[in-house]
Subunit: 250 residues, 4 copies
């Protein structure tokens, strides 16, 4: 690992996994199991171990997006991986894309977008949410995400750039849609997320008024399958509804 690189330190104590995301630096990590000199990580590669001064051994891994997701601070109910996956797959998001995103919230979707796309610009109206999101984005080591504080309904008029993909998870999404074509490349994708039917219907009506193509609203449900000595079955607990995803094309 090189100086400045993010490292996931994992250890197991009494059957419970404890983990830390740190940066290779001159600093120290203080844990319940003792102190780790973070400079010692510089000689290591993923799979190596490092020992805290009280003897506890930690394995070294390169942290991945699901780790940042799990460690991210939350300001509300963040978008779930299943819904993020739908947005990525149906917009065909790739490393050449420049993305406009709003509202940021705690930045979980933004982090995923940033880890794939070339660049992400994201708007959030609440200043304290912007702070949380900025911290999460920084912790994930993403330097291609630009966080802006402001209401996308008004701010969209001040944007003079065009994007490949626009993602909207705001309460007033329907009011943003009339201006989307001004910032979205022809053939580009708009993806919206909305928990309620009434809201989703307003979004669809706004899209129809703007002649978007290939408009489709989906709900994605995931179900865990449980494997045990007793047998195999779908899980007896289940995540319920999160939100509807609407995909449209300029």
């Amino acid at each position: 690992m090189i100086t400045g690189e993010l490292v996931l330190l994992k250890t197991s104590h009494r059957g419970k996994v404890r983990e830390f995301i740190v940066k290779v630096s001159d600093e120290q990590l203080h844990t319940d199991f003792g102190i780790i000199e973070l400079s010692t990580l510089a000689d290591k590669v993923p799979g190596d171990t490092v020992v805290a001064h009280m003897g506890q051994e930690f394995t070294i891994q390169r942290p991945k997006m699901p780790d940042f997701f799990r460690h991210a601070k939350r300001t509300g109910a963040p978008m779930m991986p299943k819904d993020i996956g739908m947005i990525i797959a149906y917009t065909g998001l790739n490393k050449n894309d420049v993305v406009l995103d709003a509202g940021t919230g705690s930045g979980v979707l933004t982090m995923y977008l940033g880890s794939i796309a070339k660049r992400v610009v994201t708007y959030e109206v609440k200043e304290d949410f912007v702070k949380v999101a900025r911290k999460n984005v920084e912790n994930a080591g993403l330097d291609n995400v630009e966080l802006r504080c402001g209401d996308i309904v008004e701010e969209i008029n001040n944007i003079d750039e065009k994007f490949d993909v626009v993602t909207l998870d705001t309460q007033n999404t329907k009011d943003v849609i009339p201006n989307i074509r001004k910032v979205l490349h022809p053939g580009g994708f708009l993806a919206t997320y909305s928990p309620f039917f009434e809201q989703t219907k307003e979004i669809r009506d706004a899209m129809d008024a703007e002649d978007f193509y290939d408009v489709m609203t989906i709900e994605c449900t995931e179900r865990e399958i449980s494997f045990s000595a007793r047998g195999t079955r779908p899980s007896t607990t289940k995540v319920g509804h999160t939100g509807f995803i609407t995909i449209a094309r300029a």
Copy 2:
């Protein structure tokens, strides 16, 4: 658009959309609506139009992954966007990742992986599938995908590189798993796709034998919501089961 760049040409005739993916070049595109000189695309930007010699107007767009997916040749039932989205989200696939994939099939998952990851190496045992996949990958303009013909069960022993993510959609996935740790970075993700319960159980047993972490099997269901003058409701037709996705961590 620049020479060699891929262009999506779209036109509408009698209410039906027709589209072509072409490369900016000295060649011609022959359509039912007349001939288009592809060199003329060089001056254009997305949103411009080009006119075939018989007068039909085509709009110019930058093709995106869902376009390549729709235009790809199929050799069987390709993986659906919903399942591809799950794999991307739960492995946190990003532009720094190097991916090992098998079996390629017609290359639909491979194309998605290639459009996001730094590099993809993919194995397919059937030579004619490799040809189809190669064509699809080339048509999508992806130059970071290496297609290899061979059985991953044996070939994995000849791989001396480590990957961030491994994706397996083969009938003998359970026989590959005992060798996965040799090619997967610590903390890296293994994602498998399997249509049947019996097969999925074998995969889980093989993963347990290898002490993978955070093993989770999910089934993703998507449901389209239909909006019409009569009202809003979940679609009366529905995609049924496709496959189970199992995510595990080295």
Copy 3:
């Protein structure tokens, strides 16, 4: 079997099952496999066989509700067993109940209600539907179902009887609800069926205005599991949305 009793005759020809529902009588059944004298059924019990004059053998069974359902004439999309089952289970329908039902349609729900309840009164506004339903109800041998032609919105004012359960599957269900308490015993159940969200919301609003108890709207989904030599999995085809069922209590 006794004279007048309904009999299910089943035979198999070239791997295909053919079946007839007949009444023990002096008449003849003409089939592609020859003639059967229906009087000969009088000596038989379920499990016996009868032979048509050209030598084809038919097994004798007592027809059950799913047989009548399968043989019923349709006037539109009939309610599915899954939704009928929900209504029966959540209203606790039993043999002491007297049921008010509207609109009858082809009478499929009505037949199920009639086979369980003590008595069913059902309203249908279209005369030709009433005829179809009457035929289906008679064919099912049900003599406790009273079919009335008329619009329940108006006719409910002319009903001076009280019911244990009311089931409504009409387009104007919301306009019936304000008068339901006049015909429903305290503690009795109202069950409505509505395909669209907008319609269901109107029903809920009408129920709230009338202070119904324990109001609950559910959607029931059924999924077939397929077992084959290749393995076990949920069916790759699937019935989509049918309707929402709302249960309320007076």
Copy 4:
């Protein structure tokens, strides 16, 4: 109400509903709100009220199956209404049917069967479960249910009666199936309930070995729709998997 009849007494205190199922008799009901002389119920009809000696008013209703279900004592996870509804609808259970049931458990399915069918014979291997089920069946006022203590795998050999419907919810269902035809009328229905895939596959194999017709395994999922001032959406909480229902015909 007449002497011996079951009565549902409902009152509301500080926004919380309290309810009691009692029999019209010479006895007293002692509640937190005072004493009610049960003989006074004899003059009343559903919808009337009765006042406890400390002044609290109770409304009088005829209890229905969902009330008995809610008041039933539990010995484990009882079958859910959704699954009971499927069994009733797919077997076409009606008031002329005689049903064989095992294992009784706390008798919830048995109570539903008894409230619809002409007669139910049910087997339960654990004596303490039989006691609980007997109490529940009696409380529901059902006198057509015969509870027997014994293992259906062996006891089925001692049954010399034929049934219209057989319902099995036991761990050894697969061992009962080879003897089902001896107790099931031709054309009659067998319905089994099994939580796990492995168990369900064994049941299917046993049915195939016995040449049952029209064999179908389904999973029924129900989803509540939530209506609030904020909007309409599927519930964010959800019941997960319960069991698979297999329907087969003799």
